[in-house]
Assembly symmetry: C2
Amino acid sequence: MSLINNSDASISFHAIGEIHTPFREAAGTPIQTVYGQDIQGSIVLKESYAAALDDIEGFERLWLIYWMDRVAGFKPKVVPYRDTQEHGLFATRSPGRPNPIGMSIVRLLRREGSTLYILDIDMLDGTKLLDIKPYIPEFDSHPVSRAGWFDKPGVDRRTADTRFHEK
Amino acid sequence: MSLINNSDASISFHAIGEIHTPFREAAGTPIQTVYGQDIQGSIVLKESYAAALDDIEGFERLWLIYWMDRVAGFKPKVVPYRDTQEHGLFATRSPGRPNPIGMSIVRLLRREGSTLYILDIDMLDGTKLLDIKPYIPEFDSHPVSRAGWFDKPGVDRRTADTRFHEK
């Protein structure tokens, strides 16, 4: 097959800033921002990107795209935080992925220059930020979308343990 | 400041598969999957990741995270597709970004081994896939979230032109 001749070529990105949060380790960190409501954090963007934040104050929520640098690697089948059964990794939101790219919806409190103060936190302190995109309901919101095993989760777990972070 | 000592260090990811779509060039490609309703495409995942797809059929929608390899670069201020005014890049969903990482919500039609047949397409043919995450309304859906300039878009444009792709 001609599929992906350069499949092992690496694709390089770089940090545009850093996310500061109250969480130093996975255990106890909210597993999603809906479970980290009202927890405060901040984003310190590189100065050179400050102008790219103009008009961001109009948006209530932002997508943060970031590198989950402290996960322990990747298994094709996992028991996710919200279940007792194994599922294929791509049918879960577990952080240990072939490319550990996280995406979280946070609420924007205010901007000061190249710093954003945010609410609703589920990432570790010092996480490297790759992108910020405005949350746009017309594009991003599908309130009724069938969600497989998650529609009957086996566990009401809202914070992480160490299963995806222990080396 | 101690911020981001290794700010220029590169963070490396790799393609887990490739997205096949009817679109060979930016001009005419839907700018979001909500504007590419019912257009069909497919994902050919590397065989080694096939097991990680198990149970994905239960999900109606998936997030695709991918590398927008054909954008022309990054400007801090842009006139986005849906407006006539300039805005800070991070207050827009424009593809030309410091890290050109795309994210799109597609509908899953069916899985055959390591291939996923999908609907609602807004990416170019041959786009390298970085991650697949299930769309989970409890995490991802905020139907009423203030969206700044986008709440009164200046233009009802639904397909791209060449502004972010011309070198």
